[in-house]
């Protein structure tokens, strides 16, 4: 009927990144309260892990692929730590913000679109994982676990892994109604992806039938790239293939997450 537009006052900012930044800020405000607890889980635990397996078991293993066992599993533990943080922060917290806290509904009532929430969460996760990786690398240097300056490349590798893992898991969390589905996710996806992705032993030792599980897992690709980086050698497959595969997960996951959020917040 009327095409007259009333003057926009105070808000309705045309800058599209503003809501994303605001979502990231919310997560950072929360993180400021919880970081001490997360230091334990995302930092101290992997170090204990390295000491127990790398040094304890490593004494029996001796050397593998020309390096000591500790140096060999450092990139594996690093990537699996990043993986655990990604999964942990994209399951219960995401479902909780839909179901119990209803924080996403609150954002939705403000001029924040579902895709802004997905993007904000992803950016925050990349930041969090990067923090843990930096701390981890600093400690591992003192163990003599890094053999090349290329080790710094694990930072962008883990950022890519974060995008490849956080987005599909977030999409899953946005689709389910009950948290008991997470038990299935952990058992059938997260644990196999941790145990059979070249973290503790070369994938070549797996029976041929199980190896495709590793090749399909984004974790294996990130472990391969990171191991190549910390040991300063070439990965088993062409770098482009590893990166391309992780990118594929990230893009498909992002589309799925945006769709799932839009659907869940619609009605």
């Amino acid at each position: 009927m009327t095409t007259e537009t009333t003057t926009v006052r105070g808000a309705g900012d045309p800058r599209p990144l503003r809501p994303v930044v605001a979502v990231v800020e919310r997560y950072l405000t929360l993180y400021r309260r919880l970081w001490q607890a997360s230091v334990f889980s995302s930092f101290i635990l992997p170090i204990l892990f390295l000491v127990s397996i790398g040094i304890g078991v490593g004494g029996y293993v001796g050397s593998i692929e020309g390096v000591d066992y500790l140096s060999w599993i450092v990139p594996g533990v690093l990537v699996s730590t990043a993986f655990q943080i990604c999964v942990g922060e994209s399951t219960y917290p995401v479902l909780g913000d839909f179901k119990w806290v209803r924080a996403y509904h609150a954002m939705r009532a403000a001029p924040v679109q579902p895709k802004d929430i997905v993007h904000g969460h992803l950016l925050y996760m990349i930041f969090r994982v990067q923090l843990s990786i930096v701390a981890f690398l600093l400690v591992v240097v003192f163990f003599g676990g890094l053999h090349s300056p290329w080790a710094l490349a694990t930072l962008p590798i883990c950022a890519l892994l974060t995008a490849a893992v956080v987005t599909p898991v977030t999409a899953f969390a946005a689709t389910i109604e009950s948290d008991s589905y997470f038990a299935l996710l952990f058992r059938f996806v997260v644990i196999p992806a941790t145990l059979f992705s070249g973290v503790f032993f070369p994938v070549e030792q797996l029976p041929v039938a199980i190896r495709p599980v590793a090749y399909a897992s984004p974790v294996w690709h990130a472990v391969e790239l990171s191991r190549a980086a910390t040991l300063g050698r070439a990965p088993s497959w062409p770098i482009v293939v590893h990166i391309g595969y992780l990118l594929l997960w990230a893009v498909v996951g992002l589309l799925a997450a945006r769709r799932a959020f839009a659907r869940r917040l619609e009605d």
């Binding site: 127990s52 397996i53 029996y60 008991s180 059979f196 503790f200 032993f201």
Partner: protein
């Protein structure tokens, strides 16, 4: 077993304990993917066994333990079994128990009936151990099938895993009555993980410096691993009596303290 031990002092009605257990069975069945979650629980230890035992085992080869040479998988599998018995019981008596105690007010409702706090503690513990023992039994089946222990070893080790479940379950229940909030579970999880890594699970404790070795010998999972490993491998010495005594004291003490705490929290 635990019930008869303490029955002399406090009268316990098996019927009322059964009612507490039955509530848990009902709650489990009402979940959306009850059977899948239950059955997939068997799947998890198998994955660990394949990954660490077989995968890492191929890197390690054989090792010598108490003068006998065995495959790494045969060395590690009993420890995984003990850990599985511990964490199975702990999952039920810490996280779930705390939730029922603090948020669902389940026990307040139960205590309005003739059921007593001690019977709640016993019921919850027995339930935790039944659930955990289902998994350890399957785990032992895998071990026999993979040639990591004998049938006799498995039959001897099974009651030991039940004892491990009772010991950790009881202490876990007491600890969860002392929890202030969810954030304390992070600490518990960290402690559990540290025990997992340093209780002779992945490599013999004799490899550690003497001071560290003695320290480890004071912690509970060490005794659980020692006991289960001795029975699975058949290398049994008088030391297992110490292990059994340690775990039994944990179970009885934990149960007594837990029921006292429940009574204090809910029956004032």
């Amino acid at each position: 077993m635990m019930t008869t031990l303490v029955a002399a002092r406090i009268s316990v009605s098996p019927g009322r304990v059964g009612a507490v257990i039955n509530r848990n069975v009902g709650a489990l069945r009402s979940g959306p993917s009850y059977w899948v979650v239950l059955i997939s629980g068997f799947f998890e230890p198998l994955l660990y066994l394949l990954s660490i035992g077989v995968g890492v085992g191929a890197l390690v080869g054989d090792l010598t333990f108490d003068g006998q040479t065995m495959s790494y998988a045969a060395f590690v599998a009993p420890a995984m079994l003990a850990v599985s018995a511990m964490s199975g019981a702990l999952a039920e008596t810490t996280f779930n128990f705390f939730f029922k105690l603090k948020y669902m007010k389940t026990f307040e409702a139960v205590l309005a009936t003739p059921v007593r706090p001690f019977e709640i503690a016993v019921g919850e513990l027995v339930w935790a151990v039944i659930r955990g023992s289902l998994y350890t039994a399957i785990f032992l089946g895998f071990m026999v099938a993979m040639g990591l222990t004998t049938v006799a070893g498995a039959l001897a080790a099974f009651p030991a895993t039940v004892l491990v479940g009772l010991a950790f379950g009881a202490v876990g229940m007491w600890v969860s009555t002392l929890m202030r909030g969810w954030q304390d579970f992070d600490l518990l999880g960290t402690g559990q993980f540290a025990l997992f890594l340093f209780s002779g699970t992945f490599s013999p404790v004799q490899n550690y410096p003497v001071g560290v070795e003695i320290l480890i010998q004071l912690t509970p999972l060490y005794h659980a691993v020692e006991l289960v490993r001795a029975l699975c491998t058949g290398i049994v010495g008088p030391g297992i009596l110490v292990n059994i005594a340690y775990l039994a004291v944990m179970g009885v003490g934990g149960l007594w303290l837990a029921s006292r705490r429940v009574e204090k929290m809910l029956c004032l």
